[in-house]
Symmetry: C2
Subunit: 343 residues, 2 copies
Amino acid sequence: MSNSYEGQGATIYEVAQRAGVSIATVSRALRNTGPVAAGTREKVLRAVEELGFTPSRLGVSLAQGRHAANGIVFPDLSGPYFAEVLLGYEEVASELGRSVLILSTRGRAAVQDLVRDLVGRVDGMVIFGRTVEDAVVDEIIRSRTPLVLLARDPVERADAVCSENTASAEALTTHLLGHGYSTFALAGDDDRGDVTQRWTGVRRVLSDHGIRPPEPLPCELTVEGGYAAGRTLLGGKPGGARRPEAVICADDQVALGVILAAEELGLDVPGDVAVTGWDDIMAARHARPALTTVRQPMRLLGARAARALDELIKGARTVPNSEILPTQLIVRSSCGPHPLEEK
Amino acid sequence: MSNSYEGQGATIYEVAQRAGVSIATVSRALRNTGPVAAGTREKVLRAVEELGFTPSRLGVSLAQGRHAANGIVFPDLSGPYFAEVLLGYEEVASELGRSVLILSTRGRAAVQDLVRDLVGRVDGMVIFGRTVEDAVVDEIIRSRTPLVLLARDPVERADAVCSENTASAEALTTHLLGHGYSTFALAGDDDRGDVTQRWTGVRRVLSDHGIRPPEPLPCELTVEGGYAAGRTLLGGKPGGARRPEAVICADDQVALGVILAAEELGLDVPGDVAVTGWDDIMAARHARPALTTVRQPMRLLGARAARALDELIKGARTVPNSEILPTQLIVRSSCGPHPLEEK
DNA sequence: CCGTCGAGTGTAAGCGCTTCCACTCGCTGG
DNA sequence: CCAGCGAGTGGAAGCGCTTACACTCGACGG
């Protein structure tokens, strides 16, 4: 199909010369902007084909003043949650003709510089949770780079997309109360905005039922973190703090870790202790026992963020918008056999 | 810290003007290229600070002729495998000062165009398995864009990184034979290079033991795909094809699906049928029963690809290199109780 | 005392494209 | 028959940076 000789970078000048026209005409022919005689277009296209010409993205971007690319900052990609969100994001961004640049902040020191660099490469950014400091977010907003906050408490002048947390947490807690449990523990870090919301919901329901809400035990939102938390919560010294009847975990990975710890301590889940997660990741369904959890529309979260960002970039909307996606309580076996009927 | 007024894009000209120097001096001061008097540098830095100046990435890239960015093409991000590899890739790329652009080909029609676009945005590319046609790979190679193939059969003039498949498959199969199984089924699509290698290993060992290797049952490498395959393989009509004693799956997700199907058919795993996976994803450990599988160094795979690409881009190496990472057989309970001693 | 050198700086030429503007020219309507 | 128009095209000015090259000037050795 293509010529045997292909320089790695024919420029528009070479195409113009070969076609015997000016670069302006080549540009018009290629981008269908402005009139070009049929014959001329023909010549141009032939030259393009023969030279294997692809317009330099840098040239185009510089001239157009846009990157046709979006950025996204997330803490980590291990665990299914962020990966799924990213998937939804990339899919929509690509559909909208934008490339996606990623940046993971996991244990990085110079996050601020990395984010700045990223900002310089894109037309708009999505920032996940608490991956970057408020100061940096402010800086981005002031630079007028379109910004969408994902699963983070909204800020004055940026869009936000997140999924519902508090109400689902209330539903989950109510469900657990329906099982007859009355002593609870909360496992999971507190410095992510969405987790905080979950705990708020849990606390409210417990308080309403006259139960003093426990302090969440901070831990990394990983299986390992959950395992450590599980050992702490369930392995209390004999005669020490009473073992909780139910452990509500910040996410599914933590829950899986807690289950692991329980198993190791010779405890039966849910017989000796009920455990719940959050997210409904794939492993939740396959866990032993299968995890009661709250399903988050992870891909949709990413997709919505991409669309919101697109609106912002295109200038189709200038007032910040905040979107909350619904979640769903998924009852499986890790919270115990159903007493009578579920309401 | 920064001035209250910040244009969204101060240019080097404004900085130069404010500092009372030429743009060349600003550039030199900022990039430490060429001599700049201490006092001058001082003035420049102050102007930069006051204007909140960040060099335009496009300008820099265009002038330098490089993007300082890498691309990666993968089929999908659902399931932990690709996400983990991507994680390792991004980490190293970022450490090497390169941004990462991603492209998922999942169910996309115009992959070729998307890949071309991506090539125009980066200094080098990593391409996963069979995500793009050979013709496109050829085109990339001819365009002299540094290229690393990941988990794909090597091509003449590109680097390749993959993990060991055949030998581990042999080890896995040998282990299953040690359990005394003699009828097998293979579940998983055949059009990914690495899966083919796995089947080759399995076939070889079976043949060596006088067992006629079964044809792999093609299925998508997802839980759903595995579930469907499981129904087919295990739900044989009464009196029809004999149910296999062991199902060797192309990856862990398929294996989880098969287990799901088995459960639904009232079969016990591993009592009625043994099941094995590949990859050792997180869910493998938490599955019921826990999955016997082959652990792939997923992050390392990505990390190595990033380093190989870096060498290529820097021109530190021009001869293509091919790297094979070791894997590890992980025996858990899904393949049955251990008969006597493992060799 | 003068030629030389190097530190410090500015000028300007790209890098590869888009697009405004000016210009030519065959047609059409008045 | 001519003004006017619109299709088709080229020239050239950016877009924001890097860097080769030229230049100035004070210091220094002979």
